[in-house]
């Protein structure tokens, strides 16, 4: 009886199952369409901008005589380097050490800090732009506390980007450091080593592949961020290495060019976007490959 009922519905059930499995496959295909569409457009429209001038010249305002004469983006490349470099300079130590704290401490403060870091990574980065504007650009003057602002500068951008990086590094570093077997740590303690020595010479070296991945992933996220630096780094059309000066940056340049009324600038945005995506993907893939290689090397 049961078998007969089962046999009667079997064909229908199999048909439905096959249809739904096919639908899942269609969903996956649909999910990948944008990736290939974006990459295709980037290469198709961006690659022709890549010449020596694009990387070495500073931008020119498109003139009436020759609207295609728009120079290069060397100022934005250097600006991104300075802004993200300074940000990494203070975000990496704070992030890694705070990550070590999360991995080693079981205190209440550590639990609260972990939740704070998780919420911070999910907050819209534009909020950090407001923060940097209030603290660095115009300065803080409330309740008798007075911090002078230093105006539009690369430092203001670094401040926002660095704060964006810290919680990302913290969480990923914690995961990497927790992966270090407790037995190694305990062996160090049994030999009479101080916790500081164990951390510096055992735990961190062992977790190095994971830490490198953590830092590089946070950096690749930071390189592409536009919102936090929208109105804090000012604007500059010259190459400048001084972090207290106003600066340009690649993601911001894409935003400004894409929304500008000049056709040539809008087209050039593809060239910058291609460069940015290549940088981000190289860091992203590179960090994973490097970590895998380091892991293999040690075995």
């Amino acid at each position: 009886m049961v078998q007969r009922v089962a046999a009667r519905t079997l064909e229908r059930r199999i048909r439905i199952s096959k249809a739904m499995v096919a639908l899942c496959g269609v969903a996956l295909a649909l999910a990948l369409v944008p990736l290939f569409a974006i990459l295709f457009t980037l290469v198709q429209k961006g690659l022709r901008w890549w010449n020596i001038d694009f990387f070495t010249q500073t931008p020119q305002f498109p003139s009436l005589l020759d609207p295609n004469q728009i120079g290069g983006i060397s100022n934005a490349i250097v600006g991104s380097l300075v802004i993200d470099g300074v940000a990494a300079l203070f975000a990496i130590p704070i992030g890694v050490v705070a990550g070590l704290f999360l991995a080693e401490s079981t205190s209440r403060f550590a639990r609260v800090l972990r939740t704070t870091a998780e919420i911070m990574t999910g907050l819209p980065s534009i909020l950090l732009g407001i923060f940097a504007y209030q603290m660095i650009v115009i300065g803080f003057d409330e309740w008798g506390v007075k911090l002078p602002g230093i105006g539009f500068s690369a430092i203001a951008g670094s401040f926002a980007i660095g704060i964006l990086m810290i919680p990302i590094i913290m969480k990923a570093a914690e995961a990497a450091l927790r992966g270090v077997p407790a037995t190694i740590r305990e062996a160090g303690l049994a030999l009479g080593a101080r916790r500081g020595v164990i951390a510096r010479r055992v735990v961190i070296p062992t977790a190095l592949p994971g830490l490198v991945t953590a830092v590089l992933l946070a950096f690749s996220r930071a390189v592409g961020e536009t919102a936090p630096i929208l109105w804090v780094i000012g604007a500059s059309t010259v190459v400048s290495w001084n972090p207290r000066k106003e600066m340009a940056s690649m993601p911001l340049q894409i935003f400004q060019s894409a929304t500008s009324p000049y056709l040539s600038l809008r087209e050039e945005a593809w060239g910058i976007a291609l460069l940015l995506v290549v940088i981000v993907l190289v860091i992203n893939l590179g960090s994973r490959l490097f970590a895998a290689w380091l892991q293999k090397e040690r075995r």
Partner: protein, 327 residues
């Protein structure tokens, strides 16, 4: 999403503890170690506290000026210093809803396909492709949305939709390209990798013997997925969707480029609109001090929304990971 890398214990010869100078290992207090750790953590905590205070303080003049009508007021006009953010909040929720409408079925379907349909080798390749999609900076999505999708929407998608639906609500013409619908679709593409990656993780920790057990009593593959896999992964999948919601609510630059920044209630899917984050992004630069404060109030609203949704999502994800570990 950095993986925890498995680590192998160093061999005795490479153990740094055995090669250093003996006197370095005398038992002393760990005070310096904890000092450094608490120093860095305290600094981060301090930054977060000052961050929160700074956003609140920056918005105070606006609350003094308009009171709670910032939240329920219907007119947002910089020119007349009228700050009612209800249309902007509505725009934020509408774009997020459009994004999730597409992203939930496609994202979960794709995750199911990755875990239960594809052969192993392809699974790794496609998983990394989806993660690459997550790494593309949001300004590039905005650029693509503005220069490629917007003209296509204006010429093809929106007129066709209007024709098919007879221009009834919410599909009234005129098609504008840059619109609520476009912003929602760009957001959909941006949150999709997040939903796929996180639900893939949740789906793949459902124990395989349950899957096989269900197959062995005669269930078809889809029946197993619907009755065993999805219920088992429910918490994690809902967590994934929640985190994606938080991301969609707060996405700034890409939306600012394709939404047209119109601080009125969107009357149709094809009309321009505005979101909290894009309004802050585009109006901050030329704002008077009072307007800056009003944008600070928007930031505070946005911060509260995303922080709550995010916290909730994180709890669901860790609850699902905990359950998977406990089984």
């Amino acid at each position: 999403m950095a993986e925890v890398l498995p680590t192998s214990p160093p061999t005795a010869l490479s153990n740094p503890l055995l090669t250093g100078e003996p006197k370095r290992f005398s038992v002393k207090s760990d005070l310096a170690h904890w000092g450094v750790l608490y120093g860095a953590s305290g600094l981060f905590a301090l930054i977060c506290a000052v961050f929160l205070i700074s956003i609140i303080v920056s918005s105070i003049p606006a609350w003094r000026h308009s009171g709670l009508s910032i939240i329920y007021g219907r007119v947002w006009s910089q020119a007349s210093n009228s700050f009612g953010a209800l249309p902007i909040i509505a725009g934020t929720l509408a774009t997020t809803a459009i994004a999730l409408f597409f992203a939930i079925p496609i994202g979960i379907g794709a995750a199911l396909a990755i875990v239960h349909v594809l052969p192993d080798r392809l699974r790794i390749v496609l998983s990394s492709l989806v993660e690459l999609l997550a790494a593309v900076p949001s300004v590039v999505y905005g650029l693509w949305g503005l220069l490629v999708l917007a003209p296509w929407f204006e010429r093809t998608v929106e007129p066709d939709l209007a024709r098919v639906t007879g221009s009834k609500f919410p599909f009234q013409a005129p098609p504008e390209g840059v619109s609520l619908l476009l912003a929602g679709c760009v957001l959909f593409i941006m949150v999709l990798p997040m939903i796929v990656a996180l639900s893939r993780d949740a789906i793949s920790v459902v124990p395989h013997d349950q899957f096989e057990g269900a197959l062995s009593v005669g269930a078809t593959k889809w029946q197993v997925v619907r009755k065993v896999v999805l219920p088992g992964a429910r918490t994690g999948v809902v967590g994934a969707v929640t985190l994606a919601t938080a991301r969609a609510l707060g996405e700034t630059v890409a939306v600012a480029m394709v939404i047209g920044l119109n601080p009125l209630f969107p009357s149709s899917l094809f009309s321009t609109a505005s979101t909290l984050a894009s309004t802050i992004a585009l109006q901050f630069q030329d704002a008077t001090p009072l307007q800056v404060a009003a944008l600070g109030a928007l930031a505070l609203i946005l911060m509260a929304m995303t922080a709550i949704v995010n916290w909730f999502g994180r709890r669901l994800i860790s609850a699902s990971a905990f359950r998977a570990g406990a089984i």
